[in-house]
């Protein structure tokens, strides 16, 4: 039985289709495939196909904790899916807005596989139900407002006529605060990924006739023509005087000059019964992009669950044709509360910080360990420090492989996506022997990457970032900045570390740096000779202030904390993605959509570690 069953009796042919659906499970992953891989999940191996559009999905797979800011978006995704649809939650998370999970399992591959088995029988038996309730969530409700087509500033909740021109007000949906609007019928729900704000009646704005031959006419209904003043029989609006036959009034064509582009969404392309419009008139007040072509600017959400971008990144692009005219980017936040706490003991603080960033748990665990040790004045034995370097480099390799998989997905390079993803899953929790056993596979991947046609022309020159102080990690090293947190780290110095640097400053250089760091990381693991997860050392009742910096796969993260009698009373975290997030807008302006997404992807953002 599934809550999102399709209406109808399970009989005859439907039984057959239900059986087919049970075998053909298509999952949309929330928050994203990168998070699923970071948790060690191989969705395809578990028997589900991953799809890019919620419309093509039959299973909504929720992985791990979804911050409150993203729950609405998850509900919208669910509402867009074809029925019968199922909600499959991995992990302990409570999801308001969404219905009760059909299948709930723990976060592990075995549990995923068991869940898929349960899902199959749920589909086979419960894909159709005669008494199925509609999915209903607060986010899907729209408020209807009434507004005057001629005076957009007139907005009220009841129907009536315009106090300024007497015209009957027309109904429209109230703009949603979150940027999504939805009808309450799932079939009619606005695709939240495609529509940013509600549509207005386009015909009302543009359906004007410039050549009315008579003296008094209705601005909205040009067929209403009479010799004396009065009100329009169709809409009640006061009729307006026309001077001479054939006079063209320019101010009524097109979009009113005061409307800014943020209000120009896809609504200008709504398919109303438009009367003839002059293209010059329609486009004369539109903002111009660099190529001088006036086009409708539309705000298109690319996230928070967009395939090919890091899961959780709330990116909205203002598109002018397929050129990016502007962008706004947000992150789910959420780690604020992880750091605001009342005096945790050091052990739980470390555990907590390790969860700040699902994409790099080892780095943050190490960061917390080092900071507490620094505050307590504890010296770590050299062998342990060395083994920690092994763990950190293993995470760097896994993370870069994960980035390669995302890059492959984004650029439609299927082989790379599959190969890098499977290697990431094998590397990320492997012991030193297994990691070294994977060396030939990794070398093969890199060798093939070097020989891939089109790769250079696709990435060279895209997303150029001149060397500056805001760059971190591989992005900085791709711009020739070679001193990262590892350069001053004695345990790295002992292993003969030299950073990988490139001068290209573009997406290609970032790709090359990451690929080389994979090989480099393997060499460091060999030199370190061991991999050991950073474990808290007993610090007793120590007090003091301490700080630490760790070069995470995305750049340096710094932590300052204060210890009082073995408890962490204050902590301050600085992460690389916070700085990179601010780079996005200037980086992608006036780029074609494909290049803009590639440029954002090349930064390897981790929305989860960003503090707002």
């Amino acid at each position: 039985m599934i809550a999102g069953a399709r209406q109808g009796k399970l009989s005859g042919l439907r039984r057959l289709t239900a059986l087919a659906m049970a075998r053909d499970l298509r999952a949309f992953i929330v928050p994203g495939a990168d998070i699923a891989r970071a948790h060690g999940l191989d969705i395809e191996a578990a028997g589900m196909q991953v799809v890019a559009s919620p419309r093509h999905a039959s299973v909504l797979l929720v992985v791990g904790v979804i911050p409150p800011a993203l729950r609405e978006a998850a509900a919208v995704i669910y509402a867009q899916m074809m029925r019968p649809r199922a909600l499959f939650v991995l992990g302990p998370d409570e999801l308001d807005q969404l219905p009760e999970a059909d299948i709930r399992e723990d976060l592990s591959q075995q549990d995923l596989i068991r869940g898929v088995r349960r899902l199959r029988s749920a589909f086979a038996e419960g894909a159709f139900r005669p008494d199925v309730a509609d999915f209903d969530a607060p986010v899907l409700h729209v408020r209807i407002q009434y507004t005057c087509p001629m005076h957009p500033e007139v907005v009220q909740d009841e129907p009536g006529s315009c106090p300024k021109c007497g015209m009957n007000l027309v109904a429209r949906e109230a703009p949603a605060t979150a940027g999504h609007t939805h009808a309450d019928q799932p079939e009619l729900i606005v695709d939240a990924d495609t529509h940013a704000t509600p549509a207005q009646d386009h015909a009302a704005q543009h359906g004007m006739n410039h050549d009315a031959p008579a003296e008094y006419t209705c601005p909205m209904h040009p067929e209403v023509v009479q010799n004396e003043p009065g009100s329009c029989p169709e809409c009640g609006m006061n009729l307006e005087l026309r001077e001479t036959k054939g006079t063209k009034s320019h101010e009524d064509a097109g979009i009113s000059p005061d409307s800014d582009h943020s209000s120009m969404d896809h609504n200008h392309m709504d398919h109303g019964d438009m009367a003839f419009m002059s293209m010059v008139g329609v486009t004369k007040d539109l903002p111009r992009s660099s190529d001088g072509l006036p086009m409708d600017w539309i705000d298109v959400p690319f996230g928070p669950f967009f395939p090919g971008l890091p899961g959780g990144l709330l990116l909205t692009l203002t598109l002018d044709g397929d050129t990016v005219a502007g962008s706004s980017v947000q992150t789910p936040g959420g780690n604020e509360e992880l750091l605001q706490h009342s005096a945790l003991d050091a052990g739980s603080f470390i555990e907590r910080l390790a969860k700040v960033e699902p994409l790099a748990p080892v780095s943050y665990r190490l960061l917390a360990c080092r900071a507490t040790e620094n505050a307590a004045g504890v010296e770590v034995p050299a062998a342990t420090a060395c083994a920690r370097v092994g763990a950190l480099e293993r995470e760097r390799i896994a993370s870069h492989l994960g980035w390669l998989a995302l890059f492959g997905q984004q650029t439609g390079f299927d082989w790379l996506q599959r190969c890098a993803a499977s290697l990431q899953l094998k590397v990320q929790n492997a012991g030193i022997r297994q990691v070294l056993a994977l060396k030939p596979d990794i070398a093969f991947l890199i060798k093939r990457l070097h020989r891939t046609p089109l790769l250079k022309s696709r990435t060279a020159g895209v997303g150029r970032l001149a060397p500056n102080a805001a760059l971190r990690g591989p992005v900085a090293r791709a711009a020739g900045i070679g001193n990262d947190a590892r350069s001053t780290d004695p345990s790295y110095a002992a292993l003969g570390f030299t950073p990988v640097c490139r001068e290209g400053c573009d997406a290609l250089a970032r790709l090359q740096v990451r690929v080389e760091e994979i090989t480099h990381g393997l060499a460091l693991i060999v030199a370190a000779g061991a991999i050991e997860l950073p474990a808290p050392i007993n610090i007793g009742e120590a007090s003091g202030a301490g700080e630490a910096a760790v070069e995470t796969p995305r750049g340096v993260a710094r932590l300052r904390l204060t210890l009082e009698k073995g408890r962490v009373t204050a902590a301050q975290l600085e992460t690389p993605s916070t700085l990179h997030l601010a780079l996005i807008d200037p980086l992608i302006k006036q780029l074609a959509l494909g290049d803009a997404l590639l440029a954002i992807g090349s930064l390897d953002l981790a929305p989860w570690e960003v503090r707002q």
């Binding site: 439907r14 093509h56 074809m82 606005v190 896809h266 395939p307 492959g408 439609g412 696709r458």
Partner: protein, 299 residues
């Protein structure tokens, strides 16, 4: 009538095999029953109409895509007799029928009133400007050698030497342009999964999605069949019966088309246009010139 039925059945069979092949190249899993299971499942799933659609465009687009592939297939001979209609303008007709692929994709992009789909549709219009000349100009050279637009004559003209050897440049251009026309990777700009969440496909669901995908697969088979007729000597070959040669060649071309794109990233739309115009069209002209010389020189 029987010819039509037989050919439709063969096309369906070819489409099915291509679907299996595509799933194999995409996911690395060979599942013979995969497409039929996916198809039946889609039949039972809900068909969602997005809000404020252009209903006619939205509904017609998948059917039109399928129809244009079927129309083009009507003039492709599998054996000397197994052809629906041997039009006197056959080679040109293929090109004419395939123009509706563009129309279908633009309609699919405009219809659902969604930004991803719309960008995908317009991207394909740009793609047409890139590939269209590279479909027609190589066909011109093929027709020059056969001295006929009849597809059966074109196959017969390759009796001594297949066109892939006679005019390899033309074959390469046609092959690349055919992949761009079928929006196969690396030319899958209108359906880019991770750039446009499926693009023109993104808003389709249920039965219509099944028809759209079927239409695309049929288009791949038709284009592969056209490549076989124009360049690979059609049904000709030793030992095996003509239909078997046609089938083997078509499937081989399909497999090459599907595999070629898996090992490289998607091209940028600007690069595609640039290469097709700066490089492709001069090469196509050179090909016509060379074939002209060969036709004059060789008996």
């Amino acid at each position: 009538m029987t010819t039509v039925l037989v050919l439709l059945l063969l096309l369906a069979a070819g489409t099915y095999l291509v679907a299996v092949l595509e799933a194999w190249t995409a996911s690395g899993r060979f599942r013979l029953a995969g497409p039929v299971v996916a198809g039946i499942a889609l039949l039972g799933r809900e068909f969602i109409v997005p809000r404020k659609p252009d209903r006619i465009f939205f509904e017609v687009a998948p059917v039109l895509l399928l129809l244009s592939a079927l129309l083009a297939a009507a003039v492709v001979p599998l054996t000397p007799d197994l052809i629906i209609t041997d039009l006197a303008t056959g080679a040109l007709f293929i090109n004419a029928a395939l123009v509706y692929v563009l129309v279908a994709l633009l309609m699919a992009g405009w219809g659902p009133n969604g930004a991803y789909a719309m960008i995908g549709g317009w991207r394909f219009l740009g793609q047409l400007i890139a590939y269209a000349m590279l479909i027609v100009m190589p066909i011109t050279a093929v027709v020059m050698r056969a001295e006929s637009l009849l597809t059966t004559r074109i196959v017969a003209s390759q009796a001594g030497l297949w066109n892939i050897v006679y005019q390899p440049l033309g074959f390469m251009l046609f092959f690349v342009a055919a992949m761009a026309l079928a929006f196969l990777p690396p030319f899958d700009l209108p359906t880019a999964k991770a750039e446009l969440a499926g693009g023109v496909e993104a808003e389709y669901s249920g039965v219509r999605l099944a028809i759209f995908r079927l239409g695309r697969l049929a288009l791949i088979v038709t284009l592969a069949a056209a490549a076989v007729v124009f360049y690979l000597g059609g049904w000709q070959g030793p030992w095996l019966p003509p239909w078997a040669w046609s089938a083997i060649k078509i499937l081989a071309v399909c497999a090459t088309m599907l595999l070629a794109g898996r090992a490289m990233p998607r091209v940028r739309d600007a690069d595609l246009l640039h290469w097709c115009w700066i490089l492709g069209i001069p090469l196509a002209l050179l090909n016509i010139f060379l074939v002209g010389l060969l036709v004059l020189v060789l008996p």
